[in-house]
């Protein structure tokens, strides 16, 4: 009997075991929204299902006993649960947590415009920089079409949100560039030294930038050099202004490359064809040479070296503004040598390092003499000392050596901590020659500048991120230290839309020209508060940003007499404004445009200002519209840029007998308008087999010949003022770019498919 019962029980049990179990349930995310397409599987079996649009699933399995059920869904952390399969239907209600992911996570955009091809959130591509009409492939000129930058045409530099040109700094691969522009010529803006094609990414920060950088009160431009070139090539440039030849050689294993190039600029033919308002007795000539090597390391890092040498000289005569039948003859010779070595590499456990070293030296030999109309040098009696002040010679040198190390450790998927240090040694020398008395005055100083910085990216969820940083700096020449906190937040408010906030304190050393006279000064200081809203889809970007900046400890000039001044930190100021940016590549086929608008309200009491005044480089309203259209059938493209800015203030401060400045005259220049045009023709566009790739390029700046007035130079008496205008109303460029070995048409295709 007993065995029978056991047998019966066994049979029943077996039957039970071979029965199917029905498993059903739902899968939701952390917020309770159903997840569609999640996969449910019994481990090590074929049985399972996927969820439908309501997050529900059901399936049956013939597996028996205790088993693990696994739920997976891309973008979510996998979930596992042990269940018992005995024929009883199983109902499961499961929740999955979203993974942090770079694609979905917000990025902090307050105060920063990213340009480049690789980076997410890029506003401009590298090619955009080159094809923006009026930029003539100058990085700074292209950045001026973005909100925040002023349209200053009489001196080089980026004037950002009420900041002076020297308050914006450029960094290449992490190290500061001491002389990013060709040496200054009075009232004529000079180009940047670096071609946009050297860089794969550019970040233009209009404020609130990271703790990794410092010594810029208003803005940093972060340039990241390209890694390895695509292919070996030889390039040539032919134009009435410039001829050049260069090569890039990529090793067969594609793990290293080297290259060099040379170009020569001579404005003689151009000035013959296009008369200039100023008289060049020595036509501008530039010799530029550069060389580089790049090595990819076994672990995927990069070692890069770049060096460039340039020599240029020029001489020009402009009408003197004290004596209209005399000229000021200005001559400049410049030597510049720049070196940058960087090593980026990856270690185990999510560690990464960036090492950088750079050395640059810049030598200017400047002379100015007042000349009569027969071009003879003039001297003046002591009673006309202000005229003698215009006869001088300056030999100056700026050397900067830097080392920098940044370590970066990933924490989880997206969060990271990074910290590092940098050391700058600078040597600045100036010999000032007073022609009248044949006296040389020497000024020089050394500075050992140190900084330590740490920063953390904290991703709370994909929708909320923070960047917290702090920076310590010490400069020996002024023997001062500072601590600068930085904070930014980003929060996603909807699909493709986000709000960012940024706050930070920024310090900057006084300028060399001030430190020559006194080192009893401290850091100048700015505090930034920024709020930004951005909505970005594939083809459209809309941004609106508001900011407030407070300036403290700005440099004030304390005149001792007409010739000499000392300086202190009693200056103050503020800047606030609103900026809009809209880019649309979609609404009109093959047509790409962007619009920038900046409203700026700023005042400063600094240098020789008598009270808080709007600086003479600031305009209340600035707007740009940039348009690009490529015609594939014609194999050519046209680009238009229109820029408008309201008039800028001008001031004449006169030193009285008590050595105090008085505001003798002030006013506003007329509004600024500029309409620029450029076009390119790519004949080998239709011929992918062409061995020689040709681009013909032409541009006209200020097509309508609008007479720009940037400000005024005042005579000593203050009775006469001479407008500061560009040396010619229009600027023309035509050039032919040739390339062998690599099909540059890819560039053109990329931009126009």
């Amino acid at each position: 009997m007993r065995p029978l019962i056991i047998l019966t029980a066994f049979i029943l049990f077996s039957a039970r075991l071979s029965a199917q179990t029905r498993i059903s349930g739902t899968v939701k995310d952390g917020k309770g929204h159903p997840l569609h397409g999640a996969s449910i599987a019994i481990k090590n079996s074929y049985d399972g299902a996927t969820t439908d649009s309501s997050g529900a699933f059901h399936f049956t399995t013939t597996e028996k006993g205790a088993d693990t059920i696994a739920i997976t869904n891309i973008g979510y952390n996998p979930v596992q649960q042990v269940i018992n399969l005995d024929g009883t239907p199983v109902v499961l209600h499961l929740a999955m947590k979203e993974q942090l992911s770079e694609l979905k996570a917000v990025t902090i955009t307050a105060g920063s415009f990213s340009a480049g091809d690789s980076k997410r959130g890029a506003v401009l591509s590298s090619l955009d920089v080159a094809t923006t009409a009026g930029s003539n492939a100058d990085i700074t000129a292209a950045l001026k079409t973005l909100p925040g930058a002023q349209q200053v045409g009489e001196q080089e530099g980026l004037f950002v949100r009420g900041g002076a040109g020297y308050e914006a700094k450029q960094y290449i691969d992490g190290t500061l560039v001491n002389n990013p522009y060709y040496s200054s010529v009075p009232d004529i803006a000079q180009r940047g030294r670096f071609s946009p094609f050297l860089f794969k990414g550019t970040v233009f920060s209009t404020g609130g930038y990271s703790a990794l950088y410092g010594q810029a009160l208003s803005s940093v431009v972060l340039l990241e050099s390209i890694d390895l070139p695509e292919k070996s090539e030889v390039d040539a440039t032919i134009s009435p202004l410039v001829v050049g030849l260069g090569t890039q050689q990529l090793a067969k294993d594609k793990q290293s490359s080297f290259g060099f190039s040379y170009n020569y600029v001579n404005a003689l033919a151009y000035f013959k064809a296009v008369p200039q308002d100023v008289n060049y007795f020595n036509v501008p000539q530039f010799h530029n040479g550069d060389a580089n090597f790049r090595i990819r390391t076994k672990s995927g890092g990069m070692i890069k070296y770049y060096t460039t040498f340039s020599y240029n000289n020029l001489g020009l005569r402009r009408q003197d503004w004290d004596s209209l039948n005399m000229n000021d003859a200005f001559a400049l010779t410049n030597h510049n040598w720049y070196n940058n070595l960087s090593w980026r590499d990856y270690l185990s456990n999510g560690w990464k390092f960036d090492l950088g070293a750079s050395y640059s030296t810049n030598l200017d030999n400047i002379g100015q003499n007042v000349q009569n109309l027969a071009n003879q040098n003039q001297t003046f009696p002591d009673s006309a000392f202000w005229m003698n002040f215009k006869n001088f010679g300056v030999d100056q040198r700026q050397d900067l050596s830097q080392v920098r190390a940044v370590f970066d450790k990933k924490l989880g998927t997206l969060s990271a901590i990074r910290f590092g240090t940098e050391y700058w040694y600078s040597y600045n020398y100036q010999k000032y020659h007073t022609v009248e008395y044949n006296i040389d005055t020497l000024y020089k100083f050394h500075d050992n500048f140190n900084s330590l910085f740490a920063e953390s990216d904290i991703y709370v969820t994909n929708a909320l991120a923070a960047k917290v940083g702090v920076r310590y700096e010490h400069s020996t020449v002024i023997n001062k230290s500072d601590i600068a906190p930085r904070l930014s937040l980003a929060y996603r408010t909807g699909p493709e839309a986000q709000v960012s906030l940024a706050y930070g304190i920024f310090y900057q050393k006084p300028e060399n020209s001030q430190l020559f006279y006194t080192t009893n000064v401290g850091f100048t200081k700015a505090t930034h508060y920024i709020i930004n809203y951005q909505k970005m889809t594939k083809d459209r970007i809309f941004r609106v940003e508001a900011y407030y900046k407070k300036y403290e400890d700005l440099i004030k000039t304390v005149p001792i007499n007409y010739y000499f001044s000392t300086f202190n930190n009693s200056g103050t100021g503020y800047a606030k404004g609103l900026e809009l940016f809209w880019r649309d590549k979609k609404s009109i086929k093959n047509f790409d445009y962007w619009i920038s608008y900046s409203y700026l309200d700023t005042k400063r009491n600094y240098l020789n200002y008598t009270t808080q005044l709007m600086p003479n480089y600031a305009a209340t309203h600035t707007a740009s519209i940039v348009m690009k259209r490529f015609f594939t059938k014609l194999r050519s493209g046209i680009n238009l840029t229109y820029t408008f800015a309201t008039g800028r203030p001008y001031y004449n401060f006169i030193l009285d007998s008590l050595n105090k400045y008085n505001l003798a005259e002030s006013g506003k220049t007329k509004d600024f308008n500029s309409f620029n045009f450029s076009a390119e023709y790519v004949p080998s566009f239709a011929n992918p087999k062409a061995r020689t790739f040709v681009v013909l390029f032409a541009s006209v700046s200020n097509v309508l010949g609008y007479n720009a007035v940037y400000g005024y130079n005042f005579s000593y008496s203050g009775l006469y003022k001479q407008p500061i205008t560009p040396p010619a109303n229009r600027f023309y460029f035509i050039g032919c770019f040739l390339s062998w070995g690599v099909d540059r048409s890819q560039d053109a295709i990329n931009n126009n498919l």
Binding site: S39, Y46, A49, I74, D117, K538, R635, A686, N750, L753
Partner: protein
């Protein structure tokens, strides 16, 4: 004792056979669903089914390959055109599992399609990244199997979609479709191995005439 061992061995052998039969049966049941299952949901379920088979089998690349292929078919759906950045990581996740077991011309074909789908979101700025990845995948695949008809079909598709002024067009694509169709006719695929593409290649060839 010897008998016991023999019985045991036979039993294990039978069990393995059963396991393998189960695998073949599951694959044979699901592979034809590529013909009938055409909605996103159906293909998603199919991809998950193949993934489960792959996860259970552990040493077979084909289930993962078919999972990736189903996900790729989702990517070709017109409504998914702009969503390739969400879909391609799913393809690539399945593909990574397949390639961890075996890398071959077929996995490179899927790699090509995944990169192509991402490129098509924004050809203008992605030509040099995703576009290059797609071209590299084709080249690697052809290096491993110069007679793979699907790779020639995909190469033809790429040229067919490129405007003539960029070096593409019907005339350039036609010989590739011809070669693909010829290779399809001569092909003798192993059991369970992919066979898709002949119909598509013939259709494309017809469009080139």
């Amino acid at each position: 004792m010897k008998k016991m061992i023999l019985v045991f061995t036979v039993m294990i052998g039978l069990a393995c056979q059963a396991q393998s039969d189960k695998y073949v049966a599951a694959m044979q049941k699901n592979i034809p669903l590529f013909e009938s299952d055409t909605t996103v949901d159906q293909l998603q379920a199919l991809a998950a089914t193949f993934e489960r088979i792959g996860d259970a089998e552990k040493t077979q690349w084909l289930p993962y390959y078919y999972a990736a292929l189903a996900q790729t078919w989702i990517g070709w759906r017109p409504e998914m055109k702009d969503k390739a950045d969400v879909n391609a990581p799913k393809i690539n996740a399945y593909l990574a599992k397949a390639e961890a077991i075996e890398k071959n011309a077929e996995t490179y074909a899927v790699e090509n399609m995944s990169a192509t789908q991402q490129m098509l979101v924004d050809p203008q700025s992605r030509y040099m990244t995703n576009g290059r990845d797609a071209a590299e995948a084709l080249q690697k695949g052809l290096a491993m199997d110069p007679n793979n008809p699907r790779l020639y079909y995909l190469q033809g598709r790429s040229l067919f979609g490129t405007p003539p002024q960029f070096g593409g067009g019907k005339d350039k694509a036609k010989p590739l479709f011809e070669k693909s169709v010829a290779l399809f006719k001569a092909a003798q695929p192993k059991p369970l191995y992919p066979t898709w593409g002949q119909k598509q290649a013939e259709e494309m060839l017809a469009q080139c005439q």
